[in-house]
């Protein structure tokens, strides 16, 4: 597939190149899907994700946006599950099922954005470090190592405490602390790709740094990056929940970690109000698991040789 992209690129000046490229891409997508289908766990993860995405996107229709309002809370505080409130109510008397569904929006959004940010940083650092080598790469890799050995959670808490409390802060805090793994992976792959003869050929034909990095290296590390992103999302969702639980997130935003934090503050842990604790916990676990399953499947389809182990 990688060589196809390169060839399609080179053959752009021959007759009907775009149609040809489109066809090839379609073929590779179909082939990808055929192989992905064979991974049962990956399929299960995909289905779970689709369900959660649907829930999150339709939240304004299924539960009105006033579900998070405390003044108009419909129930009594801390009601146990009933027909009216399938998951009971929280400390304000709000419907926990509604909060859980609304919380999925924040958890998924932050997870996706933070993973995207983290992978973007990691890919940039990895490709440039692999491409330029020398002193630049050494410095960059030492910085990467430094971030790698820093306790991620502590760093993220420190960042989130210093910056104003908002969702953007949480995204930033997770993103800038979790990129080193990606950077290392991408750099290794970049080194492997750059040692191939066609890169030398491209250079001989006058391809500059930018051309080599964006046209030859990036498409070749893309599968790795994709798989890494999917895996990173699950850890970002966990990190978001952790930060919210520790109370460094925006307290006004309903998220799964925030619900757990509310439950703890209301004393639900010691008083056995399980309906306040268990659903958000399970939701976090299921979504993180689903993303991991998908990531593993994508990894093994796209990169049979690299895919194992991490």
């Amino acid at each position: 597939m990688t060589t196809e992209t390169a060839k399609g690129d080179a053959g752009a000046r021959t007759a009907g190149p775009r149609a040809l490229a489109r066809q090839r891409r379609r073929q590779s997508v179909v082939r990808f899907w055929k192989q992905y289908r064979t991974h049962r766990a990956g399929l299960a993860g995909l289905i779970a994700l689709a369900l959660f995405a649907l829930l999150a996107l339709t939240a304004p229709l299924t539960f009105g946006s006033d579900v998070a309002g405390v003044t108009g809370a419909p129930g009594q505080p801390m009601e146990s599950p009933s027909a009216e409130f399938p998951l009971g109510t929280d400390r304000f008397g709000r419907d926990l099922l509604g909060l859980l569904v609304w919380g999925s929006r924040v958890s998924l959004l932050v997870g996706l954005l933070a993973a995207a940010l983290s992978v973007a940083i990691g890919t940039t650092v990895g490709i440039t470090a692999g491409h330029f080598k020398g002193a630049y790469a050494t410095v960059l890799m030492r910085i990467t190592d430094w971030f790698l050995v820093m306790p991620t959670l502590v760093l993220a808490i420190a960042l989130a405490t210093v910056l104003p409390r908002s969702l953007g802060t949480v995204v930033l805090a997770i993103g800038v602390t979790s990129w080193p793994t990606t950077a290392r992976l991408v750099r290794a792959q970049t080194l492997a790709v750059e040692s191939r003869p066609y890169i030398e050929r491209a250079k001989a034909l006058g391809g500059g740094h930018w051309h080599v990095m964006s046209r030859h290296v990036l498409p070749n590390v893309m599968p790795l990056v994709l798989a890494q992103t999917t895996l990173m999302i699950s850890s970002s969702i966990l990190a978001e929940a952790t930060l919210a639980f520790l109370g460094v997130s925006d307290p006004n935003v309903v998220s799964w970690g925030g619900l757990l934090q509310d439950a703890r503050e209301a004393g639900a842990v010691s008083s056995g109000n399980w309906w306040y604790l268990v659903p958000p916990g399970i939701a976090i676990a299921v979504v993180a698991l689903a993303f991991t399953l998908c990531g593993r499947a994508v990894e093994s389809v796209l990169n049979p040789r690299l895919g194992v182990g991490r």
Binding site: R91, L246, E265, S271
Partner: protein
Amino acid sequence: MSTQKQHSRARRLLAAGAAVLTLSAGLAPQQAVAADGDKVLTVAVAQSVDSLSPFLAARLLSTSIHRLMYEYLTNYDPGDARAVPALATEWKSSPDKLTWTYTIRSDSKWSDGQQATAEDAAWTFNKMMTDEAAATANGSFVANFRKVTAPSPTELVIELKKPQATMTALDVPIVPKHVWEKVGDFSKFNNDKDFPVVGNGPFVLTDYKPDSYVRLKANKDFWRGAPKFDELVFRYYKDQDAAVAALRKGEVSFVAGAPALTPAQAASLKGEKNIHVNDAPGRRFYALAVNPGAKARNGQKIGDGHPSLLDQRVRHALFTAVDRKTIIDKVFQGYAVQGEGYIPPRFSSYFWKPADGQELAYDPAKAGQLLDQAGYKKNGDGKRVGKDGKPINYRILCHATDSNDKAIGQYLQEWWGELGIGVTLNCLDNVSDPWLAGTYDLAFDGWSVNPDPDFVLSIHTCGALPATPKDTGATDNFICDKRYDDLYAKQLAEYDPAKRADIVKQMESRLYDLGYMNVMAYPNAVEAYRTDQIKSITTMPAKAGNIYGQDGYWSWWSATPADSDGSSDDSGSTGVVIGVVAGAAVLVGAGVFFALRRRATAEDRE
């Protein structure tokens, strides 16, 4: 004295995980008996000690411990809080009200064997009058003293500059002169190096580890009679859930809430065998303080409070839009009383409530009108605009460790959002820094009130302001009002209790109208103890009173241990069984899963 701000309570985050674990693994309750057969009373507290020096300590826990370590001149009766003999057996004032003579008891000995005398008391007061560092905690009591002498070991004479109404409520621990005169710098000495610490209270401090525990041994020679428990331990729990779990397991005998058990915890503990939940009217008020354009005594401005809050109509509008009933019903779930005046109804002689026309009752429409009158009109987006043309957005300082602050903050956001006013909740672990710097607009505030209200009244006088912006004053939130100050001086000089109470009520009325301190609730003291470890304990007041944070040492001094019959609770072992079964199920499930996985990937493996 034992009044204190619920400011810096350390985080209690990490212990949460431990709480979850302990919840699932119920173990048989342990008996409150140490290995050597001593009866130990363990109290779970949510506050750490700031200092064990009685000259520096301000937190409720520390001052409660000082009550146990040292005798004061007088104590409060557990029944009706009137002054009763302690180190002083009797007292009288001269006809001109300026000279007070105390008779010091001769049957009180320091724990190192020396006699406690009037000389110790005189030295303590003189030290506070001459050394500014020694006046840090209780300086307000001696500010009006002219001269303190001890003509004989049993007679203490205090001469005043002006009459002072708090002379039978001097909450000052009397320390042994022969130990304390060796102390150099009082601002640095924390009294936590040499154990046991010499004292003459019902308990003697024997051990202390910061942020961990404080251990006290019963003083067998205490003049009022030895305490029934042999040892008293205050153990610090960062997480209230962990403290409640420890109570369930019997690791601690008593849980003092932080500041109270949550409604959910209280409800679940009420159904528990061998646990008694004590729900008593509290001595705290819980208020919303407004930054009154903070200034130092020299007139220099401190911080950056929002200018619109200087308008009384705006302050009234904000509080008129606060539905106190909802706060009681939803946030406190009935474990509090709706706020009225400054002093809680528990102190009935000083309790004041606003008259019908004066009360800022919940009325959002009126709040909007008030804001319109004050000139803060809504713009096109429905936001009220300040005089600088920008939409108004208030910063509310809240304690990150207090869930009530956050919960009420969310209500405020919605109530004031309706008015067109933005709210930013600034929840911090340490609110003291922005508070002292005046960089807030509103703040959640709360104080415990003593039977004698002098202290909580004094923190709103101009004299309590910091001298310069660089200093720290005793002030609560920078209020300075001439009329209030005049009334304060008047009540302090009034010896007739009824007349004094009347002046105090006028002060409360003035404070209410000013709108800088808006009392939302008087939270109950919700605490719990194990009846299989503590047989009986004195509450204060005797009827429907609290146990932790009393104005005297009555609760811990009077606590009687339950007979230890050694029988353990059945529910504990049931918990163990459930835990074991659940664990086994998880293990079996994991085994099956891996077996299946191995089979599924068998052909891939080499």
